[in-house]
């Protein structure tokens, strides 16, 4: 039984819970520090990253989650979740709370406002062709040397992996395609459980 948490402070939690179930994991909604106990991985959903950052601090999840991620807990962030995992942001709020861990710089709302939100097919390394839904999405402006770029739109990476951390600027949870979640569960989470890198 692979237990994967979904940070349930705000955002499209229900969709991630459904996708993880189809991908063969047992989803657990995470609202308080005790919910983090016994997790094999965690998903940071889409939503508003400024709101989630504030709620992480108010509900005393910021510190515990940071240490779990630093200790190797596998995590997958979509859209706002990617921003939370980034080590640096541009065009965000200066005081915005981040979990960090991924050696990337992201640009918030990089493609523009909602009228520029779009759908596009992408080739994601290790997964195949994925239909990406980009909603006021960020992109990766800089990726560190340890970061593997799995997919890009134009010259901008939109899916990245660094060891136990995975992030996409698009929302596979909205399309009913569980392959990104299965990739996370079967590759990143299973690897961490097996003790391999």
């Amino acid at each position: 039984m692979t237990r994967v948490g979904v940070l349930a402070l705000q955002g499209d939690v229900r969709e991630h819970v459904a996708a993880l179930t189809v991908a063969g994991a047992v989803p657990v909604e995470v609202r308080r520090p005790t919910d983090l106990e016994g997790l094999d991985g965690i998903v940071l959903p889409g939503g508003e990253s400024t709101t989630m950052g504030k709620l992480l601090r108010i509900f005393e999840l910021l510190g515990p989650l940071r240490s779990l991620l630093a200790g190797g807990l596998p995590a997958y962030g979509t859209c706002a979740g990617m921003i939370l995992l980034a080590s640096e942001i541009v065009d965000g709020r200066r005081d915005q709370e981040l979990l960090g861990g991924l050696d990337i710089t992201v640009r918030r709302n990089a493609f523009g406002s909602q009228v520029h939100s779009f759908e596009a097919d992408l080739d994601v390394a290790g997964v195949g062709t994925v239909h990406g839904v980009f909603i006021r999405a960020p992109w990766v402006e800089r990726a560190g040397p340890e970061v593997e770029v799995l997919a890009s739109v134009g010259e901008h990476p939109v899916a990245v992996r660094q060891g136990h951390l995975l992030a996409t600027s698009f929302h596979p949870e909205l399309t009913g395609d569980e392959r990104m979640h299965a990739f996370f569960v079967r590759r990143l989470v299973a690897q961490a459980e097996g003790g391999a890198s």
């Binding site: 955002g11 709620l55 909602q114």
Partner: protein
């Protein structure tokens, strides 16, 4: 090939707002307070509903300069209101790049028979509804998000309660019907059968359902969430209160932790005065904004 303005992109945007609070703001300073408090979006308008109600007269789309000022101040989505049926106000709001349009009964209607054809726009729309039929008609016109209507600008939550209970109660009833009964239900609801079937199968609306109108306290917000709303709009309730920053923060926390009475109690302390408000039963039928929309 990138495609914009699809139903998935429009509805998906609203999915990202779930569990959050959307606040009415009239200045960039208020927008900053809302974002600092953890609002998931702001609604930019010239007067909050309480003032629209007090001042009377015709209420219209806000000045684009005013909306631009708010857009420049925050990184969260900025919504703006167009009058019911006023498709050119909607075109203008799309042209200036707002993230969501609220075709709103709070403004004076521009058309007493038709709503905007929202399918032809790239920008998504949220619309109000007092019952399931109204919600499904709005969705069939292209609305990508529904908010139950309360009685805006009153600080009286009773109408919001009635309308969210009505919508969710009608959905519950649909889920018990067989395929034959759904045809009759569609007729009664004056809604397309395909949407009625989809709603019955899902056991919820095919789009996100927020609630709005009269929410003034953290307990009001949490009550709407416990009743089954996906999130909350707060109009006059924050910036017509004694300490807007504290009340805004408290409402965000109460919405996120709506099932935790101890936390709601904690955030409800020392917020200063709530908006004074008007009891809905003291208003005449002609003063009710929720009756606008057809």
């Amino acid at each position: 090939m990138n495609t914009t303005g699809t139903p998935l992109v429009k509805r998906g945007m609203a999915e990202q707002l779930k569990g959050g609070v959307i606040m009415d703001v009239v200045t960039p300073e208020q927008a900053r307070i809302a974002e600092d408090a953890g609002a998931v979006a702001v609604m930019a308008l010239e007067r909050v509903p309480a003032d629209i109600r007090r001042d009377g007269g015709v209420s219209r789309m806000s000045d684009p300069d005013m909306i631009d000022g708010i857009k420049a101040e925050v990184t969260i989505p900025v919504m703006a209101k167009a009058r019911i049926g006023h498709f050119v106000e909607a075109q203008v709001l799309q042209a200036i790049g707002v993230d969501y349009i609220d075709e709103s009964e709070v403004l004076t209607p521009a058309d007493y028979a038709h709503h905007i054809d929202k399918t032809v726009f790239t920008v998504p729309f949220v619309c109000g509804a007092t019952n399931l039929g109204e919600a499904l008609r709005r969705i069939s016109e292209g609305a990508a998000m529904i908010r139950s209507k309360g009685e805006a600008g009153t600080g009286d939550v009773s109408q919001a309660t009635t309308h969210i209970r009505t919508i969710l109660g009608q959905i519950k009833k649909l889920t018990t019907m067989d395929s034959t009964e759904l045809f009759e239900a569609a007729k009664e609801l004056r809604a397309p059968i395909e949407l009625v079937r989809e709603t019955a199968e899902l056991g919820r609306l095919p789009v996100v359902l927020f609630t709005a109108g009269g929410v003034a306290t953290p307990a009001d917000a949490a009550m709407m969430m416990q009743l089954g709303a996906d999130g909350v709009f707060i109009g006059s309730g924050i910036f017509k209160s004694g300490d807007p920053a504290a009340r805004a923060r408290a409402c965000v926390e109460a919405t996120a932790y709506y099932q935790d009475a101890e936390r709601i109690a904690k955030v409800s302390r020392g917020l200063g005065e709530a908006m004074v408000g008007i009891a809905v039963d003291s208003l005449g039928a002609g003063d009710l904004l929720a009756n606008r929309g057809w």
